[in-house]
């Protein structure tokens, strides 16, 4: 094929009347593979949008324009050479700024690492780059992952694209805002106590917290090692499954991973939910806000119409989740943040923000002599009971559905000076981390113009099933089509 021929095939987005904001990965991927649009053009439009919106939304800490275009050019060359590439090739993706990206600033949202550029790539970054994704930039977050709203970033909070007076949810706030505002087509995140699912719910996205140990944590700045899960946010369920195809799997560098994955998570995605047993845990619906309850139950009804069987289940230790989580997590945080002493990299500990200091002090205390048994050890015992709650429930049902957030996206500043109040935002999302089970947040509708989500929770390593349930609901409702007005 001559280069002249290529050029003729490269019609602009304008001529094709493609609105890149409306694209899914699936669609963009086809356009690139069919040479209807070049990777460079596609990414140029996303880069421009990312830059344009950043003043308003503050989704990105770093935008990697030059690197991105260089990578996109390479993809175009491969495609011109008729190389068969992964569906993610040329797709604009953003990485939460906890993911080590070689030579590119990685701050963890904190002034401590304001000048830190890692000498190596996280495994997940490498895996995605090997499939030729384009790194648009590094997204904003609650510093060190500490937060449920995005307001704990040392670089200013990220705003919710659907209403910029509201929080985007945290800690993967920038990742959520970036995808929701169509500054990229997917973003990575971490979920230790809801940090992917909450912002996904607040921004009308599909967010996966995979099973603990399915996706490698190597190279990702650790928050709480026994709880951290590595996932991602997308517009649609299919897109989400595509990304998991690349990121899942055992990694030599992470001793807590295992190869318990499905070959292709998209293959059976439209299987449907006929005769699927869905459990609704009564503890999650008891005191629930009535509007959120209504929308969530409506979603469940949709699935019932599609053939699923609904029954009530019980997860008796649910109410202890936040307490258990807020002992174990700060304990491990206090240890994981000990390496930040300013000697080998970064700045000194005096640069830690107040939330980080709070968690370090709390965690140091709960591990300390005389208190370890009453706090950390006790919490690890209750954790076993929480895990067993899920195991028992899954003897009766195939998946569990429950709300993601007790509230709609709240106003910036509303909870930020009451730490305990902020911690209670996590009430529906921490137990899944404690049990290690996978949970997929899917859009569930809108209330007063603000999005809400619901979780589809399954047994360990049941991501394929979660996608099937999510997909069935999504195809009926198509909430992802409602874009924010930006």
């Amino acid at each position: 094929m001559t280069s002249k021929g290529n050029f003729r095939r490269r019609l602009t987005l304008y001529k094709l009347m493609i609105d890149p904001q409306k694209l899914t990965i699936q669609e963009a991927s086809e356009l690139i593979a069919e040479k209807k649009i070049s990777a460079v053009e596609l990414n140029q439009s996303f880069l421009e949008r990312a830059k344009k919106l950043n003043a308003k939304l503050n989704s990105f800490i770093t935008i990697c324009r030059d690197e991105a275009l260089k990578q996109a050019k390479k993809v175009d060359e491969l495609i011109a050479g008729n190389q068969s590439l992964n569906p993610l090739a040329g797709i604009p993706i953003a990485f939460k700024d906890l993911f080590s990206t070689k030579g590119i600033k990685t701050t963890a949202g904190s002034k401590v690492l304001e000048n830190y550029a890692p000498a190596y790539n996280a495994t997940v970054v490498k895996k995605l780059l090997d499939e030729n994704v384009i790194c648009i930039g590094k997204t904003n977050l609650d510093a060190w992952g500490h937060g449920s709203s995005g307001e704990n970033s040392d670089f200013g909070p990220t705003k919710n694209p659907y209403d910029s007076s509201k929080v985007a949810g945290g800690s993967s706030s920038g990742s959520a805002a970036a995808v929701a505002s169509a500054a990229c087509l997917a973003s990575t995140g971490t979920d230790t106590g809801g940090s992917i699912r909450l912002p996904s719910a607040f921004c009308n996205l599909v967010g996966l917290k995979p099973t603990y140990g399915l996706v490698s944590r190597s190279g990702i700045i650790a928050m709480a090692s026994s709880l951290d899960c590595i996932g991602h946010l997308t517009k649609t369920v299919y897109d989400n499954a595509l990304v998991l195809n690349t990121t899942a799997g055992k990694d030599f560098f992470d001793s807590t991973t295992q190869e318990n994955r499905v070959g292709d998570y998209t293959k059976n995605i439209n299987r449907g939910v006929k005769n699927l047993k869905i459990g609704l845990p009564k503890e999650y619906f008891g005191n629930l806000d009535k509007d959120i309850k209504e929308k969530t139950l409506a979603a469940v009804k949709t699935l019932e119409k599609l053939g699923a069987k609904i029954e009530e289940v019980s997860l008796p230790h649910t109410k202890y989740g936040v307490a258990t989580y807020y002992i174990i997590q700060p304990s491990e945080v206090s240890s994981n943040l000990a390496r930040y002493d300013g000697i080998r990299f970064g700045f000194g500990r005096e640069k830690f923000g107040s939330e980080a200091k709070r968690r370090i002090i709390l965690g140091t205390f709960t591990l300390s002599s005389g208190y370890y048994d009453a706090y950390y050890l006790k919490a690890m015992k209750v954790r076993r009971l929480i895990k067993e709650d899920f195991e028992k429930a899954f003897e009766k049902v195939d998946v569990i559905i429950c709300p993601t957030s007790p509230t709609l996206p709240f106003k910036i500043g509303e909870k930020s000076d009451d730490p305990l109040k902020m911690y209670l935002s996590d009430i529906f999302v921490v137990n899944q981390n404690l049990a290690g089970v996978p949970s997929l947040n899917v859009p569930c509708g809108f209330i007063n113009g603000l999005p809400l989500g619901m979780q589809i929770v399954g047994r360990h390593f049941s991501e394929e099933l979660l996608y099937q349930v999510g997909y069935a609901h999504e195809q009926e409702t198509k909430f992802y089509e409602r874009r924010p007005e930006l």
Partner: protein, 100 residues
Amino acid sequence: MPKVKIDIEHVAKLASLKLSAEQQRKLEKQLSEILSYVGQLEEVNTNNIEPIGQITGLENVTREDETAPSFTQEAALKNASRQHNGFFEVDAVFTENSPE
């Protein structure tokens, strides 16, 4: 669970964090509330319950005793705030204070 008042100063030292008097005061109050909240775990019966280990039950993950290339000296020191002749440099510490 013991009704606790955290000795913030002592814990801050353990955590190598410097806190102003104001910060200490504020933290003490906030942490007291948090500890009060998490203290409800006391009411859960955990007799004969083993603390959870690896959540997915993994065991025995080890590797062969093989070497792989290391960083060059330059790469290792790349992000150091202070260095000297291939070493990382800090203000003098006294061996007397080594915990090891």
